[in-house]
Symmetry: C2
Subunit: 394 residues, 2 copies
């Protein structure tokens, strides 16, 4: 090794992309707490507290609720690999990049799979899903609640009941919804849900909160084959995060400290207040973006407050503009994924970062970048429109 890299001193960023979003300073402070062993009684207590708060945030009483020791997609894989045995019939509804990922994973699990597609930016209506359920009678139906690639929200509030008419388990991707918009697992009869730590919960990435309903646990217990993944095998992990606390793998102690603090912050604010805050800041951001002539990719009836995906104006260079935002203003926004690559920007105002100062900052910086790129717009129009929303909706 010739010379070692220097001390870690990155230039500061404001993370307003699809995630990670900035971690709350209290979360980062909690992470400096010296380690405990993963079987220390003190740590077992922290686990129980974390689970209890996670149930509250997921709005569920499901005993099997805990964070998977890996990032969000591992939560998706955990749900599918535990509920699907090779040959099981499954349906995945996809309306974007992360729905497609669910298709990929369900295939790797050996599912006999039916894929329902909706145009990117749209969501599914229940009638269409009902017809498929009736025709296919799947064991599992997977769907994304908040499609991070398009900014579209899928209403899943009635979907659990519908699935249960056909004895189907409902698996939902709540990666971008949890901690930002309502997620009510019990009321909505969701059987398996997963999320991440780095968006609505304002922690670093590294954990995938997960919850399984008793119905999903029954399906798990009725498996005829071993779960293909050892690391994600809930039949074993539930003995560590369940009552017995018997060793499975070494829990990522510091990340558990982080999510415990993140959940405390969420619940101190209160879920209703948090959801309302996300809506308010979204209204301001949306007014600003539209005042600058930008249009949303998600249909009006299903726009996520926390993830604002807009079309890049004609003639504006995607990469150069985001680079300018990052280097001159220290602000990160996201580019498009898959079909939307080079065509869409994604602005996330999630968790701790859903606040007026972030909204006004990104509008002002984006306006400046668009003006430099030759876009015809009135300087200050975006910020003014947002300020008006804040003034009236205060």
């Amino acid at each position: 090794m010739p010379t070692l890299p220097g001390q870690l001193t990155p230039a500061p960023r404001l993370l307003l992309g699809p995630g990670p979003s900035d971690a709350h300073p209290r979360v980062l402070a909690a992470m400096t707490t010296p380690l405990l062993g993963h079987l220390d009684p003190q740590f077992l207590e922290l686990m129980a507290e974390t689970q209890s708060m996670l149930r509250e945030v997921f709005q569920t009483k499901n005993p099997l609720t805990f964070p998977i020791s890996a990032t969000g997609t591992a939560g998706m894989e955990a749900c599918l690999v535990n509920l699907i045995e090779p040959g099981d019939v499954a349906v995945v509804c996809t309306m974007g990049y992360f729905g497609n990922r669910m298709v990929d994973i369900a295939n790797r699990c050996g599912a006999q799979l039916t894929v329902l597609e909706a145009p990117w930016g749209e969501s599914f209506d229940l009638q269409r899903i009902r017809e498929t359920l009736r025709a296919v009678r799947p064991k599992v139906l997977g769907i994304v609640h908040a499609e991070t690639s398009t900014g579209a929200q899928q209403d899943i509030s009635q979907l659990g009941r519908l699935c249960h008419e056909f004895n189907t388990l409902l698996v939902t991707d709540c990666v971008t919804s949890l901690g930002c918009t309502p997620v009510k697992l019990d009321e909505w009869e969701v059987d398996a849900a997963f999320s991440c730590s780095q968006k609505g919960l304002s922690c670093p990435p590294g954990l995938a909160p997960l919850s399984f309903s008793p119905r999903a646990v029954d399906a798990l217990k009725a498996r005829k084959t071993k779960v293909r993944s050892w690391y994600l095998d809930l039949t074993s992990i539930m003995n560590y995060w369940g009552g017995e606390r018997s060793y499975h793998h070494t829990a990522p102690i510091t990340m558990v400290y982080a999510i415990r603090e993140g959940l405390r912050i969420v619940l101190e604010e209160g879920l209703e207040a948090r959801w309302a805050r996300h809506v308010r800041n979204h209204r301001a951001l949306k007014a600003g973006l539209e005042a600058m002539g930008l249009t949303y990719t998600a249909a009006p009836h299903c726009q996520l407050p926390q993830l604002n995906a807009v079309r890049i104006p004609d003639g504006v260079d995607d990469v150069a503009s985001r680079k300018k935002l990052l280097q001159e203003f220290g602000i990160e926004i996201g580019g498009g994924l898959g079909d939307f690559k080079g065509k869409v920007w994604r602005i996330g105002i999630m968790g701790h970062n859903s606040r007026p100062s972030c909204v006004l900052q990104v509008l002002a910086a984006l306006e400046s970048v668009l003006l430099s790129a030759g876009v015809k717009l009135t300087a200050g129009a975006g910020v003014a429109a947002a300020e008006e929303v804040y003034a009236t909706a205060a």
Copy 2:
């Protein structure tokens, strides 16, 4: 939610079990650095630095060297699920709990598996492995380098060459060796190796450093079927940690900060000095433990310096003794796993915690606990024996 849990303020511990070991204070400090996006040019630079240092610590030039975004066992699963397709012939050599875990995972990958067993506390001789290789001609041979359940080390320095005579890929579990004892992937011709962050590297648990030789990468590229795990699929992940830096999953930013700092600390000390330090502290600890009448479970020729597994004296209560160590002295040591449950204690002096103050502390506290339990021993004998080693081997 009735009342929220309070601020995180656990009583301090000294972690001298099988891991996690205490994180270095500089690592914890680095983790408070605000997040960067996982595609930020600054983060991509940190990734490259981390990979470069990890290669040095693994003593390899393998381009495919990076930390898997999950804890150590996910590294084991990543090696096996990427190199084994259903029906592939594989051999796993097991001499303890973690070898057995490798058997379990290889089976879940669909391997046509031959299991070689050695008694717990022993290691394998090459001749026996050669005969199996000749008879079975496996695609993959898996073995644990440092068996954390028994404290036994497997010499793998000649094993890669042997495997390559039979066109077999060598997969080694370096979870407890990396950063403590020599690991020389290129010289030893190891094809796939994995480790963890929370032992020899003195970071929190949460990452599994992994390295694949060009030969292993060729095998990966020659697969006929998709890797069963999406999250651990190296054919995709290598596009993020490789040259293209294209999105796969959201990297656990803060844990990457941690391991980058941990690797800097390892390389500032130097590998040779670090290995020698582990041996020196082991000699002192061993002298002390033996002076107290404790005997090692690992055979004399294969004792790991960093993981000292000793038999619990007759008549001494395992759980009560460890509880006393934890509550009165704030010291965690490990109990036995599997066959060794209730019979063995495991004392880890790993990474940052391999230092005289830890050795003397644990000896003194253990002596006190054993005396309270009615064991006949001379008070101070253990500490005295260790001090003598330090005095003479200074």
